[in-house]
Symmetry: C2
Subunit: 535 residues, 2 copies
């Protein structure tokens, strides 16, 4: 740990709320439905949470879980739990009872706070996991509906005066555990530190240009990598949080106008939903959209920019506090034509300002040439990389082999140094000895006007080893044959990259919006007849 | 020091140049007269400097001094010297031979780089201090005029290939030593660390809203607290540095237009000079001006805002990496009337985003009430406070007594938590047991349309202990009697705060623009007859 002294204070994002409440205490910090909380109120509620947790016997480093939609309560948990010296586990509310129970059990959660809307799920999982205590937030009548031992409001109200005891042993203390989505296997618990969260939050604030006039709309789930550190970043900048409990495009369009929103984050699917919504309209002032997850197709980026959104493309993983790279915009690109701008913008880019250089390497950890063609694995290290997986030294050692975090993502480096992802390592299709990027094929399919969604996976092939097979959802009312789409793909791609087979139907996705390619691969292995597509 | 690991990299601003050169290498990073250097060139020159320093036998932690105006060379020194593991001493070029020699000797400087325009001063001081080696930068024909052993260009050209050896032992390593202006006594060597410089630079970039479109004009000397960390902040944001070798208002007005300047920093006197210059004109786009040193009179702030400058008021000391507080603008103040906005803006404000809370305390280190009236000493601690004074443990211990850095500045805390300076501890006037802030009296005098400059100091008084005495420079052509000005002061101030005596003439200032009140106090002690005023 860092030595202490007059000139050394531990880096912790808890300090951001203290500062913002001290400076802008009278300003609205959080909007959550009908509730509008000043920064002073947010800070006081977080203080009460921290003090009440300590009163309840929660010790330094113990885990406190929240199962809640984007809400004032989950936001204050990002400050109150670490202020108590405890560790926040924000659980994905779209999981099943079993999955939530696994996370509660694995994390050793002592206390679970659950939103009233998720009470059944939370109680079932807590029971299965043997969680000692459960508290319920009643969003419709906060602090009133419940007065018993399970009321979150009553829990806060029971907090004594004064600040919580300072139990931070240093900035390398764990601040939160975020579980991977686990497309295959059990989710792993990714440990974030106070220092990492602090630095990543400053980087997010810098790259998104957040300030005291910013109004941030919570379309991204806060349980997803701690909302990419935006609970801390927006608070550091003294911007305003506007909570959205359910992703609903019409509600987003309403809030964009009603709350003067300036910033939001979301997966490309969120962008697609917004662009397609009946309420879509050109914006009166630019709104910055930070997007990540699967690379957004250039067409989506172009469509959003035409409406007035400024798309900020980032990339990262749960293991990197959410975003670690940004497609940092070169002002010299401003006057390129829209298609070229969209192509440039769709790349994953370069390390953010507080991150170490992100590399693309071969099996010997040597940098691949920056030729835009040679694929390698994306690896990272530095302050924006997790401390490790909770209680899983073997998985941590495997992920950190050679002193670098191995993302499992395959990409290329362009001559200008910008990284572009080609695929997840396990999603690559190897046909006749050639690597085919499933993402590259998907992008071509998405350029067809009748295609709304597409995923390409490897299908075992006796002659070529593997061949690309496409799963495609058409736009409403469209009629398109597999043959016509294959012909389209062969027109735009080398023949060997074009799929040989196409199936139509909605794609199976995880709760965080990722296509479940493992299911599609399974289906492809059985010749496409296992009926797994959710149509 | 912080432990190392895959998830921990030392915080150092050297990383900012590496990142910016990797991302925006082809873009212009520095403009210095006719020279325009890309970021790739700046990075390469800094690499050469680091490698050449190591080749020259400069060891980890050894001091390398630069005596130069704002220039590409001094900028690259902020990266190349620390990249070598050495410590930068940027020497104030307005000092005398003796003062420079003292700094070179006290810092144990091994190697001095001097700009050709300052060669005589540098050689005399280096000789007196016994500095082993001197290198000269020839600004008019860089890399050509000199080829001998004393050519900085030849020194860089002699650097071997590859990166310098990484000698950083940790982020708490000293990155630079900045000497206090020493209005009384010998200057002290203030040690900055890599970590502190990194965090302060991020804070400056955040509060000034620097980004890749920013163009920063170097009106502030880079030798002054490492240019308030802006060499690192502008580079982190991948903005553009425009060097200004001599402060010249007409040149500033020319560059504002010719280089599309968006940001600059300067003492209030710089603002006054700009506002008064014949070339002054309303700006086509807003320019952000970060100003500090003596509190700018509200009238100056109002004048600058009318021309289109956005004034960003900060406060700090050499011991706090330059600025540590900012008068963080509450958007709710936008529609106040101009005088009220200027009054709010003239306060020193609150801690910057990476700084710990700045306090105003009584003799027992207890916070004074936030009543806007009770004076106390401003104290700080945390990552934006120096590591200590070089080779001066007693002075460090005295400055850090009670675990806080004592600024020696007296201020009040307003009910909204914003700090306002009232005086330097030693500048306060105690009359009849009442504290009179010399700044408060000076502000009133400056409101008189005939007054261009004013300083108020204590004059010994047999009855009251001390009485305020004013030294005043009038605007050109103005005629104003001492009696008339005293009457004006008595109209706007309680009688006991108004000066009893006024002397007219130009005020003596230090090379960094501070009024040398110690000289004025000396003069006042002798009844105003020692002839020290430089008229």
């Amino acid at each position: 740990m860092i030595a202490t002294g007059v000139h050394l204070s531990p880096l912790t994002p808890v300090a951001f709320l203290e500062r913002t409440a001290a400076v802008f205490g009278h300003r609205t910090g959080v909007v959550d439905g009908e509730r509008r909380l000043t920064w002073a109120q947010v800070a006081e509620r977080s203080r009460c949470l921290a003090v009440a947790l300590q009163q309840a016997g929660i010790e330094h480093g113990e885990r406190v879980a929240f199962l809640a939609p984007n809400s004032s309560e989950l936001l204050e948990a990002h400050f109150g739990v670490p202020a108590a010296g405890a560790v926040l586990v924000a659980v994905n509310s779209r999981l099943t009872d079993d999955e939530v129970a696994y996370i509660l059990r694995h994390s050793g959660t002592r206390l679970l706070v659950v939103d009233a809307a998720l009470e059944a799920l939370g109680r079932a999982a807590a029971r299965a996991a043997g969680v000692a205590r459960i508290l319920v937030c009643d969003a419709d009548a906060p602090g009133e509906a419940r007065t018993g031992g399970d009321s979150y409001a009553a829990f806060l109200a029971g907090a004594g005066p004064g600040p919580p005891e300072d139990r931070l042993t240093g900035e390398d203390d764990v601040i939160s555990v975020n579980y991977t989505s686990g497309t295959t296997g059990r989710p792993k618990g990714v440990m974030y530190t106070h220092r990492g969260a602090y630095l990543n939050a400053l980087a997010e604030a810098h790259h998104a240009q957040l300030d005291a006039r910013s109004v941030y709309l919570w379309t991204l789930p806060m349980f997803h990598c701690n909302g990419w550190c935006f609970p801390w970043a927006v608070t550091a900048a003294a911007g305003r949080h506007v909570c959205l409990r359910r992703m609903d495009p019409a509600a987003v369009w309403h809030l964009l106008d009603a709350e003067d929103v300036t910033h939001l984050c979301g997966a490309p699917t969120v962008l697609v939903m917004l662009a397609a919504d009946a309420a879509a309209h050109p914006l009166e002032r630019p709104v910055s959209v930070t997007t990540a997850a699967a690379p957004p197709p250039p067409t989506v980026i172009a469509r959003m920019e035409a409406l007035g959104f400024r798309v900020n493309h980032v990339y990262g993983l749960t293991e990197t506090y959410g975003p670690i790279t940004i497609c940092d915009w070169d002002p010299g690109w401003d006057d390129r034509d829209p298609a070229e701008r969209a192509r440039l913008r769709s790349r994953q880019g370069v390390a953010m300002v507080t991150a170490d250089r992100v590399r693309v390497v071969d099996d010997g950890l040597r940098d691949v040439p920056a030729d835009g063609e040679t694929m390698g694995e994306v690896v990272m290290r530095g302050n924006n990389v997790m401390k490790g997986y909770l209680d899983d030294a073997p998985a941590t050692a495997a992920a950190f082999r050679g002193g670098w975090f191995h993302s499992g993502d395959l990409g290329v480096v362009h001559p200008d140094g910008y990284i572009e992802l080609r695929d997840r390592a396990k999603d690559i299709i190897i046909t006749g000895g050639e690597n085919v990027s499933s993402i590259e094929v998907e992008r071509v399919l998405l350029r067809h006007p009748d295609v709304a969604d597409a995923a390409v996976v490897a299908q075992p092939d006796p002659k070529w080893g593997e061949r690309p097979r496409a799963y495609v959802a058409l736009t409403e009312g469209a009629e398109l044959s597999a043959d016509a789409l294959i012909a389209f793909a062969r027109h735009h791609l080398p023949h060997f990259k074009a799929p040989d087979a196409v199936e139509f139907g909605a794609l199976p996705r995880t709760s965080t919006g990722k296509v479940r390619k493992n299911l599609l691969r399974e289906r492809a292995r059985h010749g496409g007849n296992s009926g797994l597509l959710s149509v």
